[in-house]
């Protein structure tokens, strides 16, 4: 199995070059929200281990929200984030980036601080890597290659069934299964279909995963006497803050909404980039750090493929602290429109949203971190829209396919690869076609 990795370069933009940078990024699109996958700057389509990529100017329009705590507005640098979700190791992918898109990336990064004409691109990117505190992968091991092969398989079966419908009609499920299995084998032999086998899982990755699996609970166990001691004070203070934190309700402004909406819904999947400032004080920072550790642990070891709680529409998601400990960003690739994404979250995974986002300024009031919060639907929807930043450039390696589509195709393939299939299994498999 090839595990999925991710990369993110976070670079402060030279203020005088911002307009130029925006122009460069826009030049990678055919229209807002529609990337040219073969654009000359970063020809995304050439990278066959790249699932998603995006360039985002992290334009924080809400830095002023610190005023609700009587604190002065912070003057953060304006960052450019370049991030992607990949198969395999980050290092290898960055090397490929340098190989294929050196000129384009140099042009883009030359608008950022500390990048000169003689800068070593790879060394520079390595320096500005901004690792995720936690990351979600819909289905670990499902590479871009596999996704494309399985989509081609589904297409081939679809065409076969369409062109020879009468020969399948009324046949028992197991017979159809066997018939299609023969067809797929023949297609593979003829070189028209490829279904690559699983690659070996990198040993280093497996060892790291095992160490993390055991290490984290061990650390927790070691720290537990201290944690139990602190717990009452922590909970008391948390409750006090939850009841007294300012809860400003600001409706997102129409222009910002329109800018975001114009770039959305060009594919069945949309990018989501959000950025917000943490509530001041150590407690919120510690809470967030703890929560991110839990999310990280859960996404690595616990959750089932294809399901983030009950949500089945997210391909990849990531939590990253931006330039220190004061701001958190969240990036995801989700299926459907923003409204349905948010409804899914509120109704199916409200607690999961509350537990990290409630540490941000202006979030609707929560009860014990889990309850309330996003259940205040209108307030929550305005909060999230206000904190969404425009994703300037967004690439997806498999347009038109949702995470559920990918799951279907994988199930179709797996069903074909098993030679012994029960009547019930055959019926369930047939229902996927």
């Amino acid at each position: 199995m090839t595990p999925q990795g991710n990369f993110m370069i976070l670079a402060p933009i030279v203020p005088s070059r911002e307009a130029e940078l925006r122009g460069l990024l826009d030049s990678m699109n055919e229209a807002p929200g529609r990337v040219n996958p073969n654009n000359p700057l970063v020809p995304f389509a050439q990278f066959d281990t790249l699932h998603f990529a995006r360039f985002v100017i992290l334009d924080d329009k809400n830095v002023g929200d610190l005023r609700f705590y009587g604190l002065p507005v912070r003057n953060y640098p304006l960052y450019l984030a370049f991030l992607g979700d990949i198969d395999g190791e980050e290092e290898a992918f960055l090397n490929e980036l340098v190989r294929r898109a050196s000129d384009g990336l140099r042009a883009i990064f030359s608008c950022c601080h500390g990048f000169a004409s003689d800068t070593d691109l790879m060394a520079w990117m390595n320096l500005l890597r901004s690792p995720a505190s936690a990351a979600y992968v819909n289905t670990r091991g499902r590479t871009v290659r596999r996704i494309r092969e399985e989509a081609a398989l589904q297409d081939a079966i679809e065409s076969k069934l369409a062109s020879e419908a009468p020969s399948f009609e009324g046949r028992p499920p197991r017979e159809i299964h066997a018939q299609l299995k023969r067809f797929v084998e023949a297609e593979k032999s003829a070189g028209r279909l490829t279904l690559s086998g699983d690659e070996a899982t990198p040993l280093g990755w497996t060892i790291k995963k095992m160490l993390h699996l055991i290490g984290m609970p061990l650390l927790l166990l070691l720290a537990s006497p201290l944690l139990i001691l602190i717990a009452p004070f922590y909970l008391f203070q948390l409750r006090r803050l939850e009841k007294t934190d300012p809860e400003p309700y600001i409706v997102v402004d129409d222009d910002h909404f329109e800018t975001l909406a114009k770039a959305e819904d060009h594919d069945v999947t949309n990018p989501y980039s959000a950025l917000g400032t943490l509530k001041p004080g150590l407690l919120r920072l510690v809470t967030l750090r703890g929560v991110l550790l839990v999310i990280d642990y859960a996404t690595r070891h616990i959750i089932k493929p294809g399901r983030l709680g009950r949500v089945r529409t997210i391909h990849f998601a990531r939590w990253v602290m931006i330039g220190g400990t004061e701001r958190l960003s969240f990036f995801s690739n989700y299926d459907g429109g923003n409204e349905s994404y948010m409804d899914d979250f509120i109704n199916k995974l409200g607690f999961g949203l509350n537990i990290f986002t409630s540490n941000g300024i202006g979030y609707p009031r929560t009860d014990w971190l889990l309850r309330g919060g996003s259940a205040d639907e209108r307030r929550f929807k305005e909060f999230q829209r206000r904190h969404t930043v425009l994703t300037q450039v967004w690439y997806k390696a498999y347009p038109g396919l949702t995470a559920v589509d990918l799951e279907r195709n994988t199930r179709i393939r797996r069903g074909l690869e098993s030679s012994l299939i029960s009547e019930q299994e055959a019926r369930e498999w047939l229902a996927l076609l």
């Binding site: 399948f168 159809i176 069945v268 459907g336 429109g337 409804d343 109704n347 279907r408 047939l430 229902a431």
Partner: protein, 494 residues
């Protein structure tokens, strides 16, 4: 728990009644020509309220406004800001058309009304029993109508005895509004119910989340003394209380194309064509659902429609009886907050954490109670039976549906329903198809084919109907605000 909250005298009757007995109706879409004359006309207009009268009235008048209409009447921008973004920016806004499927032949540029440059200000709806209709319209318009307004278009309606133009019984299922707010909100619902919170259909009351939807609140002054106070902010006046949003779309239906397509695919057999039509709609032409009626009652089901409404799709998880993509299954999936019922706290937790049902088609659809609409549309054009439709000689005059629905939150109710369920080519795990009746068949990025319709088999291979033509074309549309009678007087004040 509070009783008798709603002052029916303040609510336009359309929220409570469909005026079924008044089989004649027309919709005047107008622009304000003279503000003073328009206001004077509005002040005198006999707008019908929601009080139940015995004997029932024979005529009714309802009035709704677009955002440009309210602006034209002088509503200040600071107040306008309080209305929802969808209402303020309008149905034909560019980014919205992609969401609603109003592209290709449905694009607003080709609309008869409501598109760029032809947005109405007001929707004036006349309802009457046929013998009273003409005189009612005439007397209601009076002498000042043409001084006050210029008509963008006047839309007639027809009475097809409860059928929509394709010939299927329509308007069978409607949500039951919890007028007395007896049901507790919010709560996790494990059963599908037809009862929906008052605040989903009337502004100023609690919605399914137990919250009150945003709307314009005013500081009290001499001009708005008559308006009711806001429930959640009593020091403010609630301009929208007892009002709601009205969505109107003119949907032209190509009845000939529809029946010719079915007939051809059914190999020239009309009975089989009707069966295929039933799979597409999700009901037979008589209105009977394709899944059996359950014995267990569903709260809020009108006792008169039990035989056609007391069902969910729980017993049809594979879509073998009613296809996933059937029109009524898309429009109202009849599900609840959880994929399983009668479950304990532990099972609930297991499901929430994602360790619940493992089947491919399990738990893919959002809980329906946040996405209900109240339909109040009417048909137009003459009746054309399937037999007539199949005769090539019959003239294909325009016919269709003036779709009208009421909801308190356009984006969460109408727009969600239209985009995530009706127009979605990925609804419920199925791909390559949108609503078989309403879909625009336009290809989308990475999906060249969206014109299929899948009829799942019961342990057999599904039947996939290919190359569905576009049966329905959007001819116009707009978002309106249907104000309370108090708010109407406020808008019309001199």
């Amino acid at each position: 728990m509070t009783y008798g909250l709603v002052d029916y005298a303040d609510v336009q009757g359309l929220v409570r009644f469909g005026y079924g007995r008044m089989t004649s109706a027309s919709y005047a879409l107008v622009r304000v020509k003279d503000v003073a004359a328009a206001k004077a006309w509005l002040r005198a207009a006999p707008v019908t309220n929601a009080i139940e009268k015995r004997p029932p009235p024979t005529t009714a008048l309802q009035i709704a406004f677009t955002a440009p209409g309210l602006a034209q009447l002088g509503l200040p921008p600071s107040v306008m800001e309080g209305f929802s973004r969808e209402f303020r920016t309008g149905m034909s806004k560019d980014y919205r058309t992609r969401l609603l499927g109003d592209v290709g032949r449905n694009a607003p540029e080709g609309w008869d009304w409501g598109g760029p440059g032809s947005e109405p200000h007001l929707l004036v709806m006349f309802f009457a029993e046929p013998e009273h209709f003409d005189s009612f319209v005439q007397s209601t318009k009076g002498n000042t109508w043409s001084d006050a307004f210029e008509e963008v278009i006047s839309l007639g309606t027809s009475n097809l005895d409860g059928d929509e133009p394709f010939g299927f019984a329509d308007g069978i299922s409607q949500p039951d509004i919890d007028w007395d707010e007896q049901r507790q909100t919010p709560c996790k619902q494990l059963d599908y119910t037809n009862i929906v919170a008052l605040g989903e259909f009337l502004l100023g009351y609690r919605n399914e989340y137990g919250k009150i939807t945003d709307r314009p609140l005013l500081d009290p002054d001499a001009t708005n003394a008559e308006l009711l106070p806001a429930v959640d902010t009593p020091e403010k006046k609630d301009l929208a209380r007892n009002g709601t949003y009205l969505v109107m779309r003119q949907l032209e239906q190509d009845v000939q194309r529809f029946w010719n397509f079915l007939y051809e695919r059914a190999g020239g057999n009309l009975a089989e064509a009707a069966q295929l039509g039933a799979k597409i709609v999700g009901r037979t032409r008589a209105g009977d659902p394709l899944v059996p009626i359950q014995t267990e009652p569903i709260a809020g089901t009108d006792p008169r429609t039990v035989k056609q409404n007391q069902f969910t799709y729980e017993a049809d998880p594979a879509g073998a009886r009613c296809p996933f993509g059937a029109h009524i299954r898309r429009a109202n999936p009849r599900n609840s907050d959880f994929p399983e019922r009668r479950i304990g706290a532990l099972r609930k937790l297991i499901i929430i954490l994602g360790f619940g049902p493992k089947g491919f088609y399990d738990d893919l659809i959002s809980s329906v109670r946040f996405h209900r609409i109240l339909r109040r549309g009417r048909e137009y054009g003459s009746e054309l039976s399937p037999e007539q439709a199949l005769q090539s000689a019959s003239p294909n005059e325009p016919r269709g549906l003036h779709f009208i629905c009421l909801n308190a939150n356009i984006s969460r109710q109408f727009e969600f329903l239209q985009s995530a369920w009706i127009a979605n080519t990925k609804f419920s795990g199925v791909t390559g198809e949108s609503d078989p009746l309403l879909g625009n068949r336009e290809s989308i990025s990475g999906c060249p084919v969206t014109n299929n319709f899948t009829i799942p088999g019961d342990g057999a291979l599904r039947k996939r109907v290919h190359d569905l033509p576009q049966f329905l074309t959007v001819r116009g549309g707009a978002y309106f605000f249907l104000p309370s009678l108090r708010a109407l007087r406020y808008f019309a004040r001199a």
